[in-house]
């Protein structure tokens, strides 16, 4: 039975194929990886290995000399490491080999396979997976190169496309808009009316942009105090917030109620008190908290939830367009990596072929020259040149054939060609 060819392989599952209740059971913690990775590469047929484990995916990346055996082993390995029956997740598993495996890893690193296309966290998670495997010595030349190439592809995608240029959540869009109005947020004051989930998300975004002062107000005072304690905010009693409105550069409303909390008259007073410095009002409430007529006031900008969701939808659409450009970059890079991967097998064969031909040439030239009496230096140079030219012309077709088969065919084609050339020219023989 013929020996299987070496392969690049990814076996795993992700958010496209697997429900979260299964994914969470298969996730590896850092501690588990420390024990699992050495066991992964102990298996016969697996030369190098790494595990990518995030909340959306668990994937085993390997270079194997025996793909069928390695695939079986990885499935059993996952079941054993997590203490789960294989049937629980086997149907969700996918296997990619060779070019498709390379493409998959490049797409994952470039965030093209993410739940939110273009999100930046995945690259950091893959770098962590790489570092863990590298520190445990489970990577060799192939996986080192594969991962480094994945990092550079992700970087290229990020710099040559606008895939991550625009935010795609309501709260991040709101804060992004605030940055279109204000130079920076570090010296600004935000007032949050209401303590719902939307307010909390907006507060997280404001904190991430280092907002200067955070004022929190809510009908139920105690809930405002609780939220303020988690985000270093200052509580303003609900009845008093209109009197402190002039302090706020950004006002976020997500409180309930049927009446508008902010009216043009109230904001006009606040504007006069703050010498007409701009105010950005973000209305996250349904029904709305702020009177839409506020947008008619000079230096006041009002965005409601529909406006923000429309912007989010536009941004998602633009990310999809950028993702197409990114796919083209990934395809280019897959081919570049594949050429390296395929040619690393033929290089020794080409070198051996040249060495053998050169040895034969030199021996035959010496024999010929020994038979010629009174040979002039010009004649000697002519014979040397003729023999070298003949050798190069004869070697050109087999070397071209090897390169063509490895670059354009699959790994099996490449290996078959290498074997054929080695046998044909007796490169593995001890004698000529």
């Amino acid at each position: 039975m013929a020996k299987p060819d070496p392969s690049l392989m990814v076996v795993g599952l992700n958010h496209h194929t697997t429900p979260v209740e299964v994914r969470e059971k298969l996730a590896f913690s850092d501690g588990m990886l420390h024990h699992a990775l050495p066991r992964l590469v102990e298996a016969p047929g697996i030369q190098e290995g790494a595990i990518i484990s995030t909340c959306n995916r668990v994937e085993v990346v390997t270079w194997t000399h025996d793909p069928p055996q390695a695939s079986r082993h990885i499935k059993t390995f996952l079941a054993q490491e997590q203490g789960l029956p294989l049937r629980l997740f086997e149907a969700h598993l996918y296997t990619h080999t060779d070019r498709e495996a390379v493409r998959h890893v490049f797409r994952v690193a470039s965030s093209l396979d993410s739940l939110v296309v273009g999100e930046p966290q995945i690259l950091g998670q893959i770098k962590d997976a790489y570092s863990a495997s590298a520190s445990l010595g489970t990577l060799g030349t192939v996986l080192h190169r594969w991962f480094h190439k994945a990092f550079s592809v992700a970087k290229r995608v990020r710099s040559e496309t606008a895939i991550a240029a625009k935010p795609v959540s309501v709260s991040s869009v709101a804060v992004e808009l605030a940055c279109r109005i204000f130079d920076q947020l570090t010296d600004k004051t935000a007032m949050v009316i209401g303590v719902g989930e939307m307010s909390q998300q907006a507060i997280r975004q404001l904190r991430a942009r280092a907002i200067g002062t955070l004022l929190i107000t809510n009908r139920t005072f105690q809930r405002a105090v609780e939220l303020a304690s988690t985000c270093a905010g200052t509580v303003v009693p609900f009845e008093q917030f209109p009197r402190q409105l002039h302090l706020a550069d950004v006002v976020i409303g997500s409180a309930g109620g049927s009446a508008y909390h902010l009216t043009p008259e109230r904001v006009h007073e606040a504007l006069q008190e703050r010498k007409r410095r701009p105010m950005f009002l973000i209305d996250l409430g349904v029904p709305r908290n702020f009177d839409p007529r506020l947008n008619d006031l000079e230096n006041v900008f009002v965005y409601d939830i529909d406006d923000l969701e429309q912007i989010v939808a536009d941004h998602k659409g633009e990310r999809e367009l950028e993702a197409r450009k990114a796919e083209a970059i990934v395809s280019q890079e897959v081919e570049a990596f594949w050429q390296w991967y395929a040619s690393r097998d033929i290089s020794p064969t080409i070198v051996a072929l040249r060495q053998k031909a050169e040895a034969v040439r030199q021996r035959e030239v010496e024999k010929t020259l020994a038979g010629l009496k009174d040979c002039s230096p010009e004649t000697r140079r002519a014979i040397e040149g003729l023999s070298a030219s003949l050798m190069n012309k004869l070697l050109h077709p087999p070397i071209g054939y090897l390169k063509h088969r490895t670059r354009n065919g699959n790994a099996e084609d490449g290996a078959t060609s290498v074997t054929a050339v080695r046998q044909m020219f007796g490169l593995d023989d001890d004698q000529d």
Binding site: L177, R180, R276, N299, F301
Partner: protein, 271 residues
């Protein structure tokens, strides 16, 4: 030599225009780094052309429409570069480079041979008055473009249209600050320009003030800018301040360009 330098200037204004526009539409940050360099080269060659002309005539070359437009273009581009260097406002470069290119094209149309300076203008007040006046105009030009971008950006934000080029624009606050800072620098320069012009007029023609279109329009601009600065200190900001800045600059531009064509001592051949 002067023409060679002016031609190089034209080419580099064009290249920097392309660079700045690409910086606005492309995610590649490379263009944003290259474009100011190209504008700097344009400024250097333009400065060289003005210096060659000034050395050949023996006075600061600003005494006819060709020289005046060339000098104004150069000083404005230089000032924009300074603002760009301090604030990294790529969008300002995208405005000034094409204008630099168009005005330099105009300079070729207006080109005249160098000639001797009329006796009335042979005064040490010439470089003082001209430098102050042109520098003031260039600073107001910065305020004008900052205001123009402000009005555009504000309209888009009010209209909830935030896509396209808007994401490359500076924040409203940055533009408003730039406007105010430019006005604060430009107003004293304009004032000193008018005062030095009056002193020079006294030396040249025996009167501090001449009722001609150019000085009158300059005075109107001065009053408008004084009004604007006064109200800014009382809290005028945003769109209202930006709109008045645009109006003020329009009057200033009329006084600068229109006066070249209108009769009087500033008209046609300066002096």
């Amino acid at each position: 030599m002067e023409i060679v330098l002016l031609t190089s200037t034209l080419v580099f204004y064009l290249l920097s225009t392309v660079g700045f526009l690409l910086a606005l539409v492309s995610p590649q940050q490379l263009f944003g780094r290259i474009a100011p360099g190209l504008l700097l080269v344009a400024c250097a060659t333009h400065g060289g052309a003005i210096m060659v002309r000034s050395l050949s005539v023996g006075y600061i070359a600003v005494t006819n429409p060709y020289e005046a437009v060339s000098f104004f273009t150069w000083i404005t581009s230089g000032l924009f570069l300074l603002v760009q260097w301090r604030s990294s406002l790529t969008v300002l470069g995208a405005v000034v480079s094409p204008i630099g290119f168009v005005l330099t094209l105009g300079v070729f149309v207006l080109y005249t041979q160098a000639r001797a300076l009329p006796p009335a203008l042979q005064s040490s007040w010439l470089p003082v008055h001209v430098t102050l006046a042109f520098l003031g105009n260039a600073v107001f030009c910065v305020a004008f473009f900052a205001s123009l971008i402000y009005v555009f950006q504000e309209k888009r934000l009010k209209g909830k249209k935030i896509g396209g080029v808007l994401r490359h624009l500076p924040s409203l606050e940055t533009l408003d600050k730039l406007n105010y800072r430019s006005l604060s620098w430009g107003f004293p320069l304009l004032t000193l320009g008018i005062v030095s012009g009056a002193v020079w007029a006294r030396h040249a023609w025996g009167h501090f003030w001449i009722w001609e279109p150019r000085p009158i329009l300059s005075l109107v601009s001065w009053v408008l800018y004084a009004f604007l600065l006064h109200y800014r200190s009382f809290g005028w900001r945003g769109r209202r301040a930006a709109t008045l800045t645009i109006v003020c600059f329009a009057v200033l531009l009329v006084s600068f360009l229109g006066a070249q064509l209108l009769p009087g001592r500033h008209g046609g051949e300066f002096g």
